[in-house]
Symmetry: D2
Subunit: 324 residues, 4 copies
Amino acid sequence: MLDDDAERVRDLAHLGHVSLLTPDLDQTRHYFVGLLGMDVVEESGDSLYLRAYGDYERWSLKLTRSQHAGAEYVSWRAVSPRALRRRVAWLEDNGHAGRWVPAELGKGRAYEFEDPDGHTFRLYYETERYAAPDGKRAVIPVNVQAYAGRGANVHRLDHINLLAQDVRGCREFWEAGFGLRTYEIIQDSTGQSEVGAWMSSSIQGHELIYTQEKTTGSGRLHHLAYAVDTREEVLRAADIMADAGIYIEAGPSRHTAIQGFYLYTREPGGNRIEVANGGYLVFAPDAQPYVWTAAEWAAKPGWGAVIPPEFHIYGTPVAEVAHV
Amino acid sequence: MLDDDAERVRDLAHLGHVSLLTPDLDQTRHYFVGLLGMDVVEESGDSLYLRAYGDYERWSLKLTRSQHAGAEYVSWRAVSPRALRRRVAWLEDNGHAGRWVPAELGKGRAYEFEDPDGHTFRLYYETERYAAPDGKRAVIPVNVQAYAGRGANVHRLDHINLLAQDVRGCREFWEAGFGLRTYEIIQDSTGQSEVGAWMSSSIQGHELIYTQEKTTGSGRLHHLAYAVDTREEVLRAADIMADAGIYIEAGPSRHTAIQGFYLYTREPGGNRIEVANGGYLVFAPDAQPYVWTAAEWAAKPGWGAVIPPEFHIYGTPVAEVAHV
Amino acid sequence: MLDDDAERVRDLAHLGHVSLLTPDLDQTRHYFVGLLGMDVVEESGDSLYLRAYGDYERWSLKLTRSQHAGAEYVSWRAVSPRALRRRVAWLEDNGHAGRWVPAELGKGRAYEFEDPDGHTFRLYYETERYAAPDGKRAVIPVNVQAYAGRGANVHRLDHINLLAQDVRGCREFWEAGFGLRTYEIIQDSTGQSEVGAWMSSSIQGHELIYTQEKTTGSGRLHHLAYAVDTREEVLRAADIMADAGIYIEAGPSRHTAIQGFYLYTREPGGNRIEVANGGYLVFAPDAQPYVWTAAEWAAKPGWGAVIPPEFHIYGTPVAEVAHV
Amino acid sequence: MLDDDAERVRDLAHLGHVSLLTPDLDQTRHYFVGLLGMDVVEESGDSLYLRAYGDYERWSLKLTRSQHAGAEYVSWRAVSPRALRRRVAWLEDNGHAGRWVPAELGKGRAYEFEDPDGHTFRLYYETERYAAPDGKRAVIPVNVQAYAGRGANVHRLDHINLLAQDVRGCREFWEAGFGLRTYEIIQDSTGQSEVGAWMSSSIQGHELIYTQEKTTGSGRLHHLAYAVDTREEVLRAADIMADAGIYIEAGPSRHTAIQGFYLYTREPGGNRIEVANGGYLVFAPDAQPYVWTAAEWAAKPGWGAVIPPEFHIYGTPVAEVAHV
């Protein structure tokens, strides 16, 4: 048994690349390249592969033309080949068998499977490190790429928020199978269900978030976040987005959970994208998740802007709101 | 005649000290000293005199125990003794005669009068520059006082916002009599009245603001603002205020008018106090005010949090809301 | 007489456009457009006209191909046509007669003259306000142009520093003739001469600086500064410049005089350009300049990086260092 | 065997509390409490125990009156009791046996041993989480303590830098025995020795740094760093320290290694203390240390202030400079 000494599994290194779908690839490209400041590293048919200047892997985002917006898949990088095999064994031993998918543009073969809500995930280990060409090399050789200062100039992929009919089920899936740590949980008013869970494979406050699906849909994306280094850059991003005519749904302000500073926009294809900074680090190896009761959460302690109602309903692909 | 060549009067140097009333002097003192980081320079009976570390005058705020909160008076410093006499002459020649009041703790005698809404103002020229005692001297001798870093550590008095039944009347009073420049105006839905006006004696975007009084009151204070040097300090102030149990009414966020970054709190005595950063400077000598139609303003272009309804009604002293 | 009541002349509104010369117009253009984030509004022969997104005038910088780097001329905008005529009268009455030069791309005719060190200046009043075309309009109509977020994305022209054989002579010229206020002065070790003077037409801490010329040259430029809104943006600019291979001569750090946060680079044509933030505002109408003795200045109170020796010698056009 | 699958040991959770010695306990206390904004949680004889508001453990710093400044011991928290036993076993099996020391103010018993340079370290697992008393509770219950905003208001213990005669030996000790990851190494000019190594137990760029000892001393402290959340707070800290008369040795500026933003001061007892922000996170599980050649390092790519020579020699306790 892997965790024979009651220490948690630590086979995942970090959230990996994400594949998004968009009905308007040209405008979506402009958003990510011209406004977020990412680079296209490869184009192939109806797909683009992009990176932020600080992503150490060759790419962190795939965009594909599609009828609907949404996330095609989300991935995790394992800490070693052996860790990858261990996680696949767990999936297959626990009724979550998936399939191996071939390598894709510098990312090695991956094991594809679904979480309890039907979101597609991939696990991989092998990856190509980005090697900056002439003209994109940073002056400090430790940095993978020069800082171009284009638009919001996001630093790296940060976290993803998925919607789920059963937040608790999803949370327990990742805890049991992958050793993700949960840092905060919100209960519903009955105290029996959960409506939010913030999880991470590291000391970083959030890599994977589940929040309550309020439509009949499943496998939907709430938002994908790229990180900037300062709150000032989130504020700048708001100026850039507002003047570029991009819809700003919420922020800039600070979240109560994890306490990151946020700006939520919709990229022209419809996916909700966050420019994010911060959120706390959790150093305690024995930290327990903070569990908010519904009442405590509703009291909204601290400061932070009021979130509009649509923030809790809208996701991609767009789905019908469930009867309440 | 002074302005014989159609150049505007420039007899006012800057907004001067403000006198606030509070029903809870002890808690109000704690707010300004412990949380905003100001210093008490003198105590006298039921009054305290305070300064921010960057105020060049000895004090910028007087606090007096009273039954109700509110502003006792607001002042302007004139650019010269002659300028002071000229403005008094204008007041007396134009039906706004007031009276001279004696010197007060380092501020020379002042001419006291009322604006059209009944707010009390004072004009003065003579003032005592602050001389920091041992232990409070800044290492750079240009700075009037050491930077202590206590609480929000506000830098200097910034601006004041008064409520008025007749915003346009107040605006025209200051333009005609004192040469204040108006940088932004908001019209009501008829286009006949004004519900907001931002005015200044200098290139700074706002020193004196009038917004619509929505109660039967008059002479009321909307808020008094102290400035910090960065938006980061406004965000820090929110942490300080929230953890100290101070009511945060709005922000941190950015205003559409003048575009300053704000945090609105209520000091324990009930007066609304802003921690403010920025707002644009107006360099053009021939800048015209930007006039917002009600519809244009309601559309709320750009970003910035939703302001709660109470922000447009609450003021001090508290007054009955007018029938709508 | 205008200033019959001993109040200072206030006929200048602000530092106006500057014309720089460069031996490498293509690379200089790339620096100002791609790295500083300015826009070219017009090209004409060997000249380009540029603006920062926050300049209210159509342009603030002219770049002209030339054999040597340097400043062709510096300008001031007067507060009114009458103010312009008054200043011309003063120049002609006091032995500084110059000549009228024709309008140039939206700037009205100007009076050209020299300061005591031989720098060319122009005074003008008429100017064309920038009208943003489709695609460059800001969402808040008060803002003259959309915030593009390209490179350092400088906000507006801020100040200029000229070298002078006789700093005191230059300072007294502007005080006597134009009412500029001097906020700080550095004396030499004899106390008889001055080696630095920071002057302004407004409450802004510095628009025109003179520092000691240490070569046999005259009429030379020390640096031209564009402003950004935060210190964070100065730090970002350093990342952008370093990774773009631009020579960083000093900073990011804070100056002792005026206390602005700075980054000094050399644009590829050789002119020293500063990305600047802040510096204090001076509200007191009767503020006296702070006079640093050489010893006090040498003690370097406060914090701030050590400035390299070349900073005190290099200027454009390049000149021979005087025998010491 | 623990690491039978070639994955690294991950038994350390984070750098733990540090015990500093000071010849001037009163002034040192004022520095940490009044200027850095830490709280004293306990006093005992000639010792004080302090915490930053974000430390989840009860305390992170012990100060003890002593004849000389320096670090009495440095500690690491293990991820579990079993991890603690495993590391002790490794020490005893590899010739580094130490001894168990009793529990100390909420920290469980610890195993004390020395690194190859003679610095004393402790390993522990058990620890008391801080429980804020009334008046110090944060409004968001996830936060361990209210944000007081006193002085630099440091957030948490960040990293420590020790001097070592044999940097490589120390680095290899921690890699072999504890699985620390090394993110950057500087070689000397021969390429045979190392003069700097930056190590961490997590994705955080640096927890333990070794740099070259240039005196005959051993077991000396270079500096201890507390973290703030923004570069702006480092800049504020410089204002606070300068006006309080504290010696600022270097910064604010940015380091080339790990790229954190720094301010170095000497607390009144003589220990060098850093107020630090940032430094990169390392997400790649297979990241290799970047090895700087002496020449490459000397070229100082990127930006950042010149470090004064004393920075490379001074440490505590003070020692004689070795003959060169």
